[in-house]
């Protein structure tokens, strides 16, 4: 079986995380992704050797995760000959994706109009930090700033009056990557109907606003800001986080608390609470939430996390254990569902990666190659895709446009 996007060619002018990650999804789904990089610098992500003190010697796993399945072409776009090669590649591609700054794309002679003249069928997707319009259109945006901080999520997380928490590296980028892949696929569907491509305008900021929709809507419809979650005083104590006897945490998620209340009281060995007039329906529990949270905090420390899981499962309650990242990579449920995949790597033998987050029954995703070395496929792609000859390559090399 082949992938959903088999036979499509994607040209990536991307760096860091969001756009490379989107192209990794497209690549997993069968598209041929050609990543064009500067011959000297390459994608700056290649040089990132540690995050928060964690690093791995030979293999840059961050780079691997978002660049598997790609062909690497090193091309110096400061040379006219380099730009010329890129124009050849554009003519032979279905999709161009970039998160270069809009001004940089213009400087490279790659505004949408020019690209569409070269190839009217191309889907042209550009990601910005803050959108293509407005005063801040040219402002560089990382997901920490444009997504997490500007989009409202950061200020809403954490207890009231405490410092807001930072996000994890690339979290906003990797969410945005799923949207970029979706928008490109939708534009390809539309191309089937209309015969032409189009430009797609995406931003980190806009994606964040979508994600925080349930907080945005009350602000938009009533000008009301929902207060930050306060564990000690959450209005529905059955929708809260508790520490268990062994110091691990459990997240309860019984949003419709009345439905689960009797079973919950039995599960925690407190049948007396069920008819207690302070707590016997959701309104009372809301009114007396601090009191109930404090009772539950006491109860929850009486057993360890695993034993609560066993009890809650037996009573069909809705909850989840709070895992660390290392728990996740050894989680049998994740393995049973092939949330990970592996690919042979020249430096470390088998390289384990996070698989593309959708299962297709007819056109499965596949990771068949690790991230390319800088410019690994330059000659191959220029010969096979751009239609150049060895003589052309020699000339480009002498000029310095390719390494």
């Amino acid at each position: 079986m082949s992938g959903a996007l088999d036979g499509l060619r994607v040209l990536e002018l991307g760096h860091w995380v969001a756009v490379p990650s989107a192209c990794a999804i497209l690549g997993d789904w069968g598209a041929e992704v050609v990543k064009v990089e500067d011959p000297v610098m390459g994608d700056p992500m290649r040089g990132l050797r540690s995050v928060d003190g964690v690093s791995v010697g030979e293999v840059n796993y961050w780079f691997e995760q978002v660049n598997r399945n790609k062909k690497g072409v090193a091309l110096d776009l400061r040379y006219d000959s380099g730009k010329n090669v890129l124009r050849h590649l554009i003519q032979k591609s279905d999709v161009l994706v970039s998160n270069f700054k809009v001004a940089a794309l213009e400087r490279l002679g790659l505004p949408y109009d020019t690209v569409a003249r070269l190839n009217p069928q191309i889907v042209y997707a550009v990601l910005t930090g803050f959108g293509r319009e407005g005063q801040e259109r040219d402002k560089p945006g990382y997901d920490y700033s444009a997504f997490w901080a500007r989009g409202g999520a950061m200020s809403k997380m954490g207890e009231p009056d405490s410092a807001p928490p930072p996000q994890r590296p690339g979290m906003g980028d990797n969410v945005t990557s799923m949207l970029i892949a979706g928008a490109i696929s939708a534009a390809l569907v539309a191309r089937g109907r209309t015969g032409v491509g189009q430009a797609l305008d995406l931003s980190l900021f806009n994606t964040a606003v979508w994600m925080l929709g349930m907080d945005m809507m009350p602000a938009l419809s009533a000008g009301i800001e929902i207060p930050n979650t306060e564990r000690g005083k959450t209005r529905n104590p059955l929708w809260n986080t508790y520490r268990t006897g062994d110091g691990l945490w459990v997240q309860l998620v019984m949003i419709q608390s009345d439905r689960f209340w009797p079973a919950f009281c039995e599960a925690i060995g407190r049948p007396d609470l069920e008819q207690d007039p302070r707590f016997n329906n959701s309104l009372c529990r809301e009114e007396n939430c601090a009191e109930l949270v404090s009772i539950l905090e006491g109860v929850m420390t009486s057993r360890d996390c695993a034993s609560w899981e066993e009890v809650f499962t037996r009573y069909q309650l809705i909850f989840g254990r709070v895992q660390t990242v290392i728990d996740v990579v050894t989680d049998p449920q994740a393995t049973a569902n092939s949330f990970f995949t592996q690919v042979p790597h020249p430096l470390c033998g088998e390289l384990r990666l996070v698989a593309s987050p959708v299962k297709f029954s007819g056109t499965p995703a596949e990771v068949s190659a690790p991230a390319p070395e800088l410019g690994q496929h330059t000659e191959e792609v220029l010969l096979e895709v751009a239609g150049m000859t060895w003589d052309d390559l020699v000339r480009l090399k002498e000029e310095g446009a390719i390494p």
């Binding site: 931003s203 979508w210 907080d215 709070v322 007819g362």
Partner: protein, 403 residues
């Protein structure tokens, strides 16, 4: 101009947030979405007031409006054979069937994948689970708090070391998952154009979270050790950190490569003495003395309000971002300049503001054409379109299959 998904018909048998949000995006992009709801109140998000989420009362459910605009609502009691037959009739003319009901419910209603694919080989069957379609926990109900946020490691790795884990915002993980679902459905539709065949695309809340946290998870997969939580008081790069300004509002410095900005930054904060300071004058020095520099900067930033700092940082070419609340979004000029928000006429409320679909298409624009439907608003209209007669409807009503 029509949307990218014009002509695509979707039958949504889904509730809560993630799948309805995904189909809202499809609808914004031009698909016709019919939402099937039960007669006992329909989608629980209609009743979100009073679930302990909002400390105020509105006559509409803000998140329901967000995730169900542009849809038609049909009420069917799926426990009745007439209702099941009607859904099969709708599916016969549809391109996509979208669901997040639990597997045993789907079988009981006769709409599991196997039942539909045999009769409709062109159908895209989009399903969502909490923990994947396989493994011991394949039937465990999953909300984004548990399956996405807690289980994936996101919650475990956010927050200060030794502090409690950070609570998510409602629907945050659902809305990120909606992006993966939309991309999968779009890619499958694209593939169907070429192969003529539909397929099942399934997504899991846990898997999309792992994609999102890919950088940390990838670190654990390769390094085999857990990533530490970070504290903002002792970061390795104090120019990639956030500070509270004099007016209590937070600003985020985002200069991951600090060296090129250091000199301008010192001028911006009026501390030229720091520029050549042996402790802080180099990237390595700032890394080693991070905690000391953060303490200095905390004290500096507390001296002026955020807007003033913003002007100074901009003047000196520093990259920084606002930490906003959802209430700030509505008045953010960058949001309106880019159409991140849109308005719609609500029958009861007049004009309401909604979050637009987070992509702009140059030739097949997204649009919000109608607000969320009343429960069962289009039951008769849709069933009549699918060949039922008024006599049939009367019979269904008598049997309790429709309202």
């Amino acid at each position: 101009m029509t949307g990218a998904m014009a002509g695509i018909k979707v039958v949504e048998l889904a509730h809560w947030v993630a799948m309805p949000a995904a189909m809202a995006i499809m609808a914004d992009w031009g698909a016709e979405v019919v939402k099937i709801e039960n007669p006992q109140g329909g989608d629980p998000v209609r009743g979100f007031m009073g679930m302990g989420i909002y400390p105020f009362d509105l006559s509409l459910s803000p998140p329901f409006e967000m995730d169900n605009r542009n849809k038609r609502s049909v009420v069917l009691d799926m426990r009745r054979p007439e209702a099941q037959e009607a859904v099969h009739r709708l599916v016969a003319e549809a391109d996509v069937f979208a669901t997040n009901l639990e597997p045993d419910t789907l079988s009981r209603f006769g709409v599991e994948y196997e039942a539909l694919v045999a009769k409709h080989p062109r159908l895209i069957y989009a399903s969502l689970s909490g923990y994947g379609d396989d493994g011991e926990e394949w039937e465990r109900p999953g909300f984004d708090y548990s399956a996405h946020w807690a289980r994936s490691g996101i919650m475990g790795v956010l927050g200060e070391p030794d502090g409690p884990p950070v609570s998510p915002r409602p629907g945050f993980g659902d809305h990120s998952t909606s992006l993966a679902i939309v991309s999968a459905v779009s890619a499958a539709l694209f593939n169907r154009e070429r192969t003529g065949k539909g397929q099942r695309v399934s997504t899991a809340l846990l898997h999309t979270a792992m994609w999102q946290l890919g950088i940390d998870i990838q670190a654990c997969l390769l390094a085999g050790q857990d990533v530490p939580r970070t504290t903002r008081t002792a970061v390795g790069n104090p120019l990639l950190n956030y500070y509270r300004a004099g007016d209590g509002r937070w600003l985020f410095l985002v200069m991951p490569q600090s060296a090129p900005y250091w000199s301008g930054f010192c001028k911006a904060i009026g501390r030229k003495d720091l520029e050549k300071d042996p402790s802080f004058g180099t990237t390595g020095g700032r890394w080693r003395n991070g905690a000391a520099l953060v303490a200095i900067l905390e004290e500096v930033f507390a001296r002026r309000p955020r807007a003033e700092w913003g002007r100074l940082l901009d003047e000196h070419g520093c990259i920084w971002g606002l930490v906003q609340t959802p209430g700030d979004i509505d008045t953010d000029p960058q949001v309106w300049a880019n159409g991140f928000l849109t308005t719609a006429d609500h029958p009861a409320q007049g004009e309401i503001k909604l979050i637009a679909s987070p992509v702009r298409f140059s030739t097949t624009p997204a649009s919000v054409r109608s607000t969320a439907p009343q429960l069962g608003e289009h039951t008769e209209e849709v069933l009549l379109e699918h060949g039922y007669t008024w006599e049939d409807l009367t019979r269904f009503k008598d049997a309790g299959a429709i309202l």
